[in-house]
Symmetry: C2
Subunit: 248 residues, 2 copies
């Protein structure tokens, strides 16, 4: 399981869907398995809204009153540590469910890295819907299981891999997450900063920067600018991510 991508798409190909039409009217995200009448009902319970980059969906510790289905954009989930630094728990993309948690409060901040669109639903309404539509609850369970597998995968990365292996794994994960959603573009958008990546991978931003330049010098990746990234040697990144040592 890809540590960057917690989504699972049983039974249909997400690439054939138009995510921008959102919850109401389209089977997307958690609404994926619903039929027409259920979709009609849910459209009364949720609302869609757009937000600019850097806006905050919620903060760690806020009452977990709403869940968000990501229709478009990239979300950074992070946790503030006692010493003031942050740990990025994950990134979320379209189709992901954000903010449906076990406890009464959100366990992390959710912040937009790009402009985004969301389908927002009250926690209580969602719970009611889950009770009424077992297929939807099943879907949430699947999303949760997928997220769990992704987080465990990420755990292994943090615990055991070298800096270059982590960065390689991150790039591959990002690529995979985007390939499974939008069309496979040669240039994949990478809205996160070196600092974000470092906080995700348990490295400093300097180490991330050094590793990126090393990868670029070796001709394995390129950054054409505009927050885009192009992977030139997928195989090399894969063997790096797998732990094989490369003297850059």
């Amino acid at each position: 399981m890809n540590p960057l991508d917690s989504a699972r798409w049983p039974g249909s190909d997400p690439r054939t869907q138009d995510p921008c039409l959102g919850c109401a009217g389209k089977r997307f995200g958690i609404c994926h398995p619903l039929d027409a009448s259920a979709l009609d009902e849910i459209s009364h319970d949720s609302d869609r809204h757009c937000l600019p980059a850097k806006s905050v969906l919620f903060r760690e510790g806020d009452a977990a009153a709403r869940a968000f289905s990501v229709l478009e954009g990239t979300v950074k989930l992070s946790r503030l540590l006692p010493d003031g630094r942050q740990q990025v728990v994950g990134f979320r993309f379209r189709g992901d469910l954000v903010g449906y948690t076990a406890g009464p409060t959100y366990p992390f901040d959710a912040e937009l890295l790009t402009p985004g669109q969301f389908c927002r639903i009250e926690r209580g309404r969602l719970d009611t819907l889950l009770r009424r539509y077992p297929l939807m609850e099943r879907r949430v369970l699947d999303l949760c299981l997928g997220e769990l597998a992704a987080t465990q995968e990420h755990l292994v990365t943090l615990a055991r891999r070298s800096a270059e292996s982590r960065v390689a794994a991150f790039l591959l994960g990002l690529s995979d997450a985007h390939r499974r959603r939008g069309l496979a573009q040669p240039e994949l958008p990478m809205p996160m900063t070196r600092g974000d990546i470092g906080d995700f991978l348990g490295l400093t931003l300097e180490t991330v920067s050094r590793t990126f330049t090393a990868f670029k010098r070796s001709g394995w990746i390129a950054e054409p600018g505009g927050q885009k990234l192009r992977i030139l040697d997928m195989g090399m990144l894969q063997s790096l991510a797998a732990g094989e040592m490369a003297d850059i």
Copy 2:
């Protein structure tokens, strides 16, 4: 959320239950929210069995054909890395559900550290039961959400904390996990080896050993033998786990 303890017990106190009676006949683990008739039905679908220490419930990559509800014992979940080392993803105790995963195969090994008892159920039967009993599916979702929160907590530990902070957090987590289940004993059982702990915390067994001896010399913990551990200065461990530096 305690990174060692993914369990959540909504609505009732687990300490009043007799876990050894297991799934059939008692509301325990995933059967927790079921009524009598449902329990009767489930008893035909599951079977109970006992296993000695070091036995393997399943291996990474095996077809995920069965799920296990832990009635007694400690389970180590680990993943074999390409370089031959292992990453311990977590430990599971009584009341936890083991082996119910998103994918068609198990994503990690499950191995017993102590003799254990389990309620075993076929994956397909469990899926059927989940469809029939929404309360049970809801319970599985809650367990999954709890496990997710615990894994994310562990993620932070691995990414950011120092060796002594990790060990302190591990000890506190172990203590908490046991306090929430069995009676709070002054000596808590610790069946895992230094190597297991190191593989859980992303440290070498030598570093774990050194940290344990440092803690013992400082009088914060004691190991009376027999795989038992006694925490002498909980407050000190807490401030260590929180990241405050202590020159041991």
